[in-house]
Symmetry: C2
């Protein structure tokens, strides 16, 4: 009872993924997927991770792939299993994370005819995968094992090519499903890829780069603005360009320009706080903006440039259209690192006004000092400020959406430590956040996750992965018992349905849930208790619950922004 | 700061759903969905349910809609929120459950351009919705409120028309999002639908019905086979036809023919056990099968008819192709109730052999007696047998997929109590089972859920709905620490990767998870303790954990099947 005669079709497929560089596969239990699951497990070098919930399995894979910049494979059985991948696939598509979705399926004769656990899996993720292919039924004929190698290589290359993203291969399998793993030369004894992909990247020529330079060189109030970048190399090039051009860089928390051992004197980490009040936005003119990476989190920034309409140059890798303001813009399609190198080669440089540069550098200092000298009260904001102070070299902070990412963007300040901040900002879901952070931890880096209580509950099953593999994840749950962000929105004025629909106090039993997994749990009562906890090392899962109050939180934020507003040095305003 | 001028567009839409019969809406928190969420909450007669996890929210809605046979509305915000609905939508599509998916979206100018929490929601569920419509931006012009009423009525009618299923309307909303609920005549003062749908049903004419009858009347070894039926009316007609024709009815546990106050002497509930051994299947010939409802759960039945190839008549409502064996078949498209009435009107009746009828009726008694006189040891099988004995009139048993549905099909025997059994057998996922069962409980019926431990963990967040609304759900978790069903499959022979990939012992902390929600929890150690618990009433959430052992379970099942095999009366075998 084995599928011996078809074993090589799958084992060569998997070997080819390995030859391309695949290191991790995340498998959810099932029967139809047996050929893939067992053969992956047999592979001596690919690490398999098992998780029962396909939704969090996919976000876990996404976290790993996002951190390593390399495809991670996902394997699930037929039926709704694959549909649970959908949220993570959409996030991966928009945040450009490479995933290899390998879905097992019933063979054609058992589809759409009442056979159990069979759905139509053909193109079931629509346009959210870069490539879909329905695989042939397994056959060991040389022509077919060549085909399975080619498809492995091709799928890997497409996922990993600019813009990176998810691809799906759908595998029909007939009974019997168990492969014969005792066959000789299971992996084909290759030491390189069967199909090798040498891929270029989109770039403008030098003349086009000079034209971009010529557009901005006559102006003296310019900015570089960085959202999430794709690599440290891009980040380092931005730092070089800032030094050479003497130009402020508004650095979103996800740009990872804020905390780095490199010189970061031009990095403005507090621009969200600086631009928060309309009075500043109205009186601060700006001539040009060069944006790299994704749209920044900051809403005040977006409101400001929408109102001021500076010359707007948006650089993107090879496609995509991350420009929601609809102001007059130049879209530059080029690998950003290549473009910055070209700009660095231009002999002359822009000549920004001293007032302008000083406005940003001075006020960033002003705002940072003000924020650093915060009170000792434990609030969501001071929790993030304390994390900014205490986070250790080479660690990663993963940030939940809704309030945590906004607090991190406002209060996670510059320093000379190498700390990366990550988040699921493709489409900003509150789903799958725990699993994604644990995926980063699975690459060997200790991860501190900052997350709200609703998002925590939403992805609770993800914590089982951390338990299963004892991964270094420290979860800070900012528990304000509900949807804290809505207090900042106009819905808050409508008291009638507010608590039911937006406040949504679900009374999350955080401690009990954490205890059920035997993780270390702490609930600091004061900021100094939190600081002590953050100073500790961790190499396994632990949870810190910070209980806050939504109304107090709203007041605290408003008063901070007011303080920043009042302290700003207004020289340099237009 | 309100959208007063667009309020009626949404409020009339919701009123029209109400006029069509909508009673329930399940809302997940979000900002973009504010116009729908607040207006639904304001409606005096539609009940709103709030749940933070869209995946379980959708399965919860599915449970309600499946039980009531009427559409339930779902509301979520933009982004991956809607993608979390996908598993439940696919289940609803295949199990023909009407759902109204109302997804809020960014307006067109903020789509696919880097604006936060915006994905391409157009046709994002592919062919899994019966109808998709992108709504116009809200406007209060009479032509547009007429349009919004029409779309409400139309979507409701399509979801509710044969075959029932999910539909999606996608709503672009611009800021400001808060409606003005103080406006006069918010619901338009109608007392009936604006667009009324009078829908027929597919049916064959009398002559065609007689032709069907003529096909079978010359044979004396015939069966009616019933999978899941759509209504009690269909079920009662099947009982009448069985009486009139003197014909055995192989009744899947989801047919709800087993436990009914009506006479059910022809109902064979043990056919799975009877057909389990190949010896019986080989020696038992059959001339014709008329199948109503979905494919039965029983694999032995499928193997038997695939081998014997009887004349095969499959009745289905108006489309669908629930016939996976590919044996020569007649597909009859007619509303089954109408067809049975036509067959009942045919003057003559089939003349089955006494031996044949007695083989089934006698052996069903033999098998039932044998199973009823089970040992007092607590196993998965005896737990289900005891539930079969103790379940109370008018209650519902909801069954998880994988092992529980198979155990229920084998061991849930006939009796003269009115008990319905339900399951998600559209595509048999282990996902969303808790939420679906709680959805049934939300209609006012106490529900006993029988579920495995992996499926329990998968949908743990669903339990928060039961906590929030204090619903009458009793969960029996059959905890064998992993994927019990795989022990019955060929994978079990491959010890090398079995536990990692298929056994998957996740050590689920069931008690701790239940305690975290403050539900009553019991873990019976003996069968009599379980019986005592099952005899108790319940009107709020409680959990009974039955700890079993996968290997013991396998042996117990095998010995039961062997006992049944040895006890069968072989007269009537061909």
């Amino acid at each position: 009872m084995n599928m011996g005669e078809n074993t090589y079709y799958v084992s060569y497929f998997i070997d080819e993924l390995f030859q391309n560089g695949l290191e991790n596969v995340v498998i959810s239990p099932g029967s139809r997927s047996t050929p893939l699951a067992m053969t992956f497990s047999e592979h001596p070098s690919i690490k398999e991770w098992i998780h029962f919930d396909e939704r969090s399995a996919a976000f876990f894979a996404l976290g790993m792939a996002k951190r390593t910049g390399k495809p991670v494979a996902l394997v699930c059985t037929s039926g709704t299993a694959a549909a649970n991948y959908y949220p993570a696939i959409i996030e991966a598509y928009y945040s450009r994370v490479p995933l290899l979705i390998l879905t097992a399926d019933r063979p054609h004769e058992l589809r759409d005819n009442g056979a159990p656990q069979a759905i139509d899996q053909i193109k079931m993720f629509g346009d959210y995968v870069k490539y879909f292919h329905e695989m042939a039924l397994p056959e060991n004929a040389p022509s077919m094992t060549r085909y399975s190698r080619r498809q492995a290589s091709r799928a890997y290359a497409i996922a990993n090519h600019q813009n990176k993203g998810p691809v799906q291969l759908n595998f029909p399998f007939r009974d019997p499903l168990v492969p014969d793993l005792s066959l000789p030369n299971l992996w084909g004894e290759r030491s390189s890829t069967y199909v090798n992909h040498i891929t270029g990247c989109e770039q403008v020529n030098l003349q086009q780069a000079e034209e971009i330079f010529d557009m901005v060189k006559g102006y003296n109030r310019g900015l570089i603005v960085c959202g999430e970048l794709q690599s440290h190399e891009e980040r380092d090039l931005v730092l070089k360009l800032a030094e050479k051009w003497d130009i402020p860089v508004l650095a979103d928390v996800l740009s990872n320009l804020r905390k780095t051992i490199h010189s970061n004197q031009y990095i403005i980490s507090t621009y969200d706080a600086i631009l928060k009040q309309q009075g500043i936005r109205d009186s601060l003119d700006v001539d040009f903006v060069i944006r790299l990476g994704s749209m920044p989190v900051s809403k005040p920034y977006m409101q400001w440039i929408t109102a001021k309409q500076p010359m707007h140059i948006v650089v993107d890798e090879n496609q995509g259209y991350r420009e929601p303001t609809s102001i007059e813009s130049t879209m530059v399609y080029s690998q950003p690192g290549v473009l910055i190198k070209q700009l660095l080669e231009c002999k002359s440089m822009p000549n920004l006004s001293r007032d302008w540069v000083d406005f940003w550098l001075t006020n960033d200092q002003v705002a940072q000092e003000l924020l650093k000298h915060h009170e000792e009260k434990l609030t969501e904001g001071t929790a993030v400020l304390t994390l900014s102070e205490e986070i250790k070299q080479e660690q990663v902070v993963f940030v939940g959406n809704s309030m945590p990412i906004r607090d991190m963007d406002t209060f996670f300040l510059t320093s000379n430590q190498e700390v990366d901040v990550m988040a699921n900002r493709g489409v900003n879901g509150i789903d799958g956040v725990i699993s994604s952070a644990i995926g980063v931890a699975a690459t060997g880096t200790p991860v501190t996750l900052v997350i709200g209580d609703v998002s925590f509950l939403h992805d609770y099953t993800g914590l089982f992965i951390a338990r299963q593999y004892d991964l270094p994840i420290r979860v800070i749950v900012l528990n304000n018992n509900g949807g804290g962000i809505f207090s900042f929105l106009p819905q808050y004025q409508e008291k009638k349905h507010f608590e039911t629909l937006f406040g949504t106090p679900f009374n999350p039993p955080i401690k009990a849930l954490v205890d059920s997994l035997d993780f270390e749990y702490n609930q600091p009562q004061t900021l100094s208790e939190l600081r002590e906890l953050l100073r500790g090392d961790f190499n396994k899962p632990e949870v810190i619950e910070v209980v806050t109050n939504r109304d107090e939180n709203l007041q605290w934020h408003r008063s901070k922004w007011q303080q920043v507003y009042e302290s700003l040095n207004r020289e340099g305003l237009s």
